[in-house]
């Protein structure tokens, strides 16, 4: 962090004209997903716990929104409510103006744990949703084949999930969700379990897919760089209770590429969010190791330095 702080970065609020122009146009697009006055309480051991408090949010068509926040900020609860897997205590979620009450194929979801059906081959996993929506087997199969070639797994169409690597599994999971032609793709830390290289590849894949398909993406992550790299806007949540802290418009021009990781806008945005999530002065919350020196006095190596 220190290397960023020392220099004089522009403010993350400064937007180049083409970026500003893009955001203006983006905001003209119809609202795909709207969250209105959303609250969620859980019954905890010591009385009710507020997981989410008064969340308001409008996501426009084909926008890419990332959600970031400290652990316990309720970001997983939020995406589960959007998916319809959990019910809000109060407030509404609207998809194209219609209230969301239960899970449905128009909101595809990709989980961190892949959740591919282990008893189905890659092809049949992708066919699952298509058959649920009433496609006959032949059509579903040819649709699935197209998705398989899109994610480049033609050689694996008859493989079972346990034969695939983590990155391949997640590609299948994305294809399976997209095959249903959802309006929104909900992604709950989808690349969290992948190693750094695979993760970078998957991010590039996802941006490529997003560019070419009419899809709005709602993406949860705990990785700052991932959020800045992928998102149009970043929803920053704070914990206890989970509230919107800020919605950051990312000033990094589209289309994105890994070269932008060191651009001033990128670093400025990253630094700003870093400060939002880890406030510089509230760092000392007593959560540090209480270690005394435990090396023998006449040890050969007195100090590791």
């Amino acid at each position: 962090m220190s290397d960023i702080k020392a220099n004089n970065l522009p403010s993350y609020l400064d937007q180049a004209p083409e970026v500003k122009d893009r955001f203006d146009r983006l905001k003209q697009r119809p609202v795909t997903l709207e969250v209105k006055g959303l609250n969620k309480q859980f019954k905890g051991l010591a009385g009710p716990v507020t997981a989410l408090k008064d969340i308001n949010l409008k996501i426009h068509k084909r926008e890419f929104v990332c959600v970031i926040g400290p652990s316990g900020c309720g970001k997983s609860t939020l995406i589960r409510i959007l998916a319809g897997l959990e019910q809000p205590s109060s407030g509404q979620v609207l998809l194209n103006g219609e209230e969301v009450t239960k899970p449905g194929p128009e909101r595809g979801m990709v989980f961190q744990g892949y959740t591919l059906f282990p008893w189905l081959t890659v092809k049949k996993n992708i066919m699952f949703g298509l058959i649920e929506s009433g496609y006959d087997k032949g059509t579903a199969e040819s649709e699935a084949r197209e998705w398989i070639s899109l994610i480049g797994l033609e050689k694996f169409e008859n493989s079972y999930p346990h034969q695939l690597s983590g990155g391949m599994k997640q590609r299948v999971a994305i294809a399976r969700a997209l095959a249903n032609r959802p309006k929104v793709l909900l992604m709950d830390e989808p690349f969290g379990a992948l190693d750094a290289q695979t993760r970078a590849k998957m991010q590039a894949y996802l941006l490529e897919i997003w560019k070419n398909i009419d899809i709005t993406v709602f993406f949860i992550t705990h990785d700052l760089e991932e959020a800045v790299y992928l998102a149009d806007r970043i929803l920053v949540l704070k914990a206890n209770p989970g509230e919107v802290q800020e919605i950051v418009e990312v000033p990094v021009p589209q289309p994105r590429s890994p070269d932008q990781f060191l651009s001033p806008e990128f670093l400025a945005t990253k630094q700003h969010i870093e400060e939002l999530i880890h406030p510089p002065h509230e760092d000392d919350d007593g959560d540090h190791l209480n270690l005394v020196r435990m090396v023998h006095v006449d040890d050969d190596v007195g100090s590791v330095f």
Binding site: P105, R107, F111, F117, G129, E132, Y160
Partner: protein
């Protein structure tokens, strides 16, 4: 290479040898007790009764009885009895049991109404089969329902939980009164012994299905019926299959009790009959046959299972 190490598999060659040892060791102990005269052998087999009035050739007497009579004969200076050390009649030697494996099948039944060994075995297999199949036809669907829906879990499980503590043989007299004395009450005992455990075991297995698979299916648009038949059932199939293998083993343990109900039949009839004739080599052969039959069926099912569920990660 250490033989005994935590969390480390033996090399394949050694594993096979050690697995073989698990059969050879008991056999060695049995052989030692049978063939080494100084190991146990608490009785004497008379070869020459001498002057002892009640000794007969080939008669088995306890060693202290023999010693006493021998001493008496010595003191009276009459003909001395002679004999070899022997094991009691209920512990035949391995080779005798091995022979009995063949002769049990080739020996004609003593009376015309009695059945051959293979007929007895076949009768036992049928009892197990029908008891287990009937139980599975009802028990597996109920178990899956109870594991999937809380409603059915609350509705079925408390009563079944109570009922499974009632020992199946306790229903023997009732089963005979209702179903007669032939095969039906025996099948009923296997059913009672299996069914209640089966519902609970299957329900538990169903509950262990990864709930995120159900959530994934929901977000893909699966309705209630699809969730049950396209996610729950295929999702638990390998575990269900394993449960059934284990439960089938339990069903065999109820077999002997079940066959004593009404008219004794099947392998149990053979065993009790042979014990009555003191053909303990046949008794041992029959008991070992049950073990071999059970193990063979289980290995066969395991082999089929590996082919039925190719998506299961190979266990190494």
């Amino acid at each position: 290479m250490q033989l005994i190490a935590v969390n480390r598999k033996l090399e394949p060659g050694r594993r096979r040898v050690v697995a073989l040892m698990s059969f050879i060791l008991p056999l060695l102990i049995w052989s030692a007790v049978s063939y080494l005269p100084f190991m146990w052998h608490p009785q004497m087999k008379i070869t020459d009764p001498g002057s002892v009035s009640y000794f007969r050739e080939d008669m088995l007497v306890d060693r202290d009885v023999f010693d006493r009579e021998y001493q008496k004969a010595q003191e009276a200076e009459t003909a001395l009895p002679d004999g070899d050390r022997a094991n009691p009649v209920y512990l035949p030697a391995p080779h005798e049991v091995a022979t009995a494996f063949v002769t049990a099948f080739t020996t004609e039944p003593q009376r015309r109404s009695e059945s051959w060994l293979h007929e007895s075995l076949w009768s036992s297999i049928q009892v197990i089969f029908w008891g287990f199949v009937l139980s599975s036809i009802i028990g597996i669907p109920l178990g899956i329902l109870a594991g999937t829906y809380d409603f059915f879990s609350r509705l079925f499980e408390p009563f079944i939980e109570f009922f499974r503590y009632l020992p199946a043989p306790a229903f023997g007299a009732l089963a005979v009164a209702i179903l007669g004395i032939y095969q039906a009450p025996k099948i009923a005992i296997i059913f009672i012994g299996t069914f209640f455990q089966q519902v609970l075991v299957v329900a538990n297995t169903t509950r262990k299905l990864d709930p995120s698979l159900l959530e994934a299916a929901q977000t893909l648009g699966a309705g209630n019926k699809s969730m049950l038949f396209r996610v729950v059932v295929p999702g638990i199939l390998p575990d269900l299959y394993r449960d059934i293998r284990i439960l089938l083993g339990w069903a065999w343990t109820y077999l002997i009790v079940a066959e004593l109900i009404g008219t004794s039949s099947g392998i149990t009839w053979f065993i009790t009959q042979q014990a009555r004739y003191k053909n303990f080599d046949n008794v041992f052969a029959a008991i070992i046959m049950i073990g071999i039959l059970g193990l063979t069926i289980d290995l066969l099912l395991a082999w089929i299972g590996r082919r039925l569920f190719p998506w299961q990660r190979e266990e190494k």
